[in-house]
């Protein structure tokens, strides 16, 4: 009886001693690990991968190692949450200038081009874009099958089933950028959150005077927006044959929005103008 008890105790003690020895032999735990744990709790924890790291924990590791990392690759979700941001600043002992960091996704198309044929294939923009440039008259336009809406973790992108117009809800969008690669026509772009408007057209065909014959909503290349802008924020991009907005110079003045005869310059945080209102 006594022998049995002592054997069991002995085996237990030997096992414990083995663990002790191993913990001494193995390399010490990373010092930043405790900090990583604290940071990981503040981070959103949905592992969207928009920062380029394999997950929120890996991001926390990078930040714990080097706090400058957060300035170069900010966590887009965190930027939306003021309270968490304040906690983060306290822990890291830095002050973040968040203006211009927060981004929002915009879709450079209002997708009102008519269909050339009835598309009956796989319900995916990427599949549809393999046939010609899609089933719409405008080969640059949004196909409205919602590949971007499917990847959005915030449910910020919706496709209007009647008009096939894809919209980003500016209140829900956190600017993570997951949707950008999903668009086969490359229509989605991240712009600073405080930009007042964006261009709702990606028509880059140079030869024809485009617009009306392919899409009621298209940019007709009239360049009125450039003339109307007082701060020289609008310039003509010769390569893409479209106006571009200088993110730094642009103020919230509505001149270029009003100047556009075709309502292609779309103010953010308002509902898109109804298509029938086209001039």
């Amino acid at each position: 009886m006594f022998a049995t008890i002592s054997i069991l105790t002995g085996i237990g003690a030997a096992c414990g001693f083995l663990i002790f020895i191993m913990s001494k032999i193995l390399p010490k735990e990373d010092e930043t690990l405790a900090k990583t744990g604290v940071l990981a709790e503040i981070l959103p924890g949905m592992n969207c991968g928009a920062c380029g790291q394999p997950g929120c924990f890996a991001y926390a590791q990078q930040v714990a190692k080097d706090k400058e990392f957060i300035l170069n690759t900010p966590c887009m979700t965190l930027l939306q949450d003021g309270e968490a941001l304040k906690q983060l600043e306290e822990i890291l002992d830095i002050s973040l200038d968040t203006s211009g960091m927060a981004k929002i996704a915009v879709i450079h198309c209002y997708g009102n081009s008519e269909n050339i044929f009835d598309y009956d294939g796989i319900r995916s923009c990427k599949a549809a874009a393999q046939i010609g440039a899609g089933y719409k008259k405008c080969p640059y336009g949004c196909l409205g099958l919602g590949d971007c809406a499917a990847v959005c973790l915030q449910d910020a992108i919706t496709v209007d089933p009647e008009t096939d117009i894809t919209k980003v809800d500016p209140e829900k969008c956190i600017g993570c950028g997951l949707c950008i690669v999903e668009c086969p026509h490359g229509l989605i772009e991240l712009i600073p959150r405080d930009m007042p408007h964006y261009l709702g057209c990606s028509y880059t065909y140079k030869k024809k005077i485009p617009g009306r014959e392919w899409c009621e909503m298209g940019c007709i290349h009239c360049r009125k927006c450039i003339k109307a802008c007082e701060t020289d924020a609008v310039t003509w991009d010769k390569d893409r044959n479209l106006p571009t907005f200088d993110m730094e110079k642009c103020t919230a003045s509505p001149e270029s929005i009003e100047a556009c005869p075709n309502n292609v310059i779309i103010p953010i945080s308002t509902t898109p103008p109804a298509v029938s209102e086209c001039h």
């Binding site: 049995t4 054997i7 085996i11 663990i19 191993m22 390399p27 735990e29």
Partner: protein, 193 residues
Amino acid sequence: MSDTSLIAIFVSMALINNFILAKFLGLCPFFGVSKNLKNALSMGIAVLFVMLLASLGTWIIYDLILEPRGLEYMKIIVYILVIATLVQIVEMTIKRTNITLYNALGIYLPLITTNCAVLGVAFWNTQESYNLAQSLISALGAGIGFTLVIVIMSGIRERLELSNIPKPFKGFPIAFLIATMLGLSFLGFGGMV
């Protein structure tokens, strides 16, 4: 089993008496970690490693301490003790050398402690009264069989993510169905040894 040559033991443990598909042991990590090929492989290798260590440790303790003193009835508690210790050491090693892998394995790593496949292989070795070499080969076979099945499963499940599955079958139900079919296909190995 009449034939106890090392190759026979290996093939038997890896394919014919596969721990997951024939003995239904270690199903928890089988369904929990088989969503992604990389993690599944890591989990399989971790289990294989723990199985080998556990076989070695339990063989030494059983043959040198328990059996000579007639303490066979204590093997459950002693085996659990030994396996828990080994898993602690493996966990500590992974945590201090590869924190990403540690996070990926998550809860399933401590679960190896109570993983019935590891305890199962230790008991199997004792029951068949294998010697040291046979024990190690049997653990190697069991671990490789485990890894093989979990990797096959994760490959299939990665494909399933992309396929069009009826809504009620999404996630675990279809995984259970796949596991059944895998089990049936592994039945084909029966009678080889």
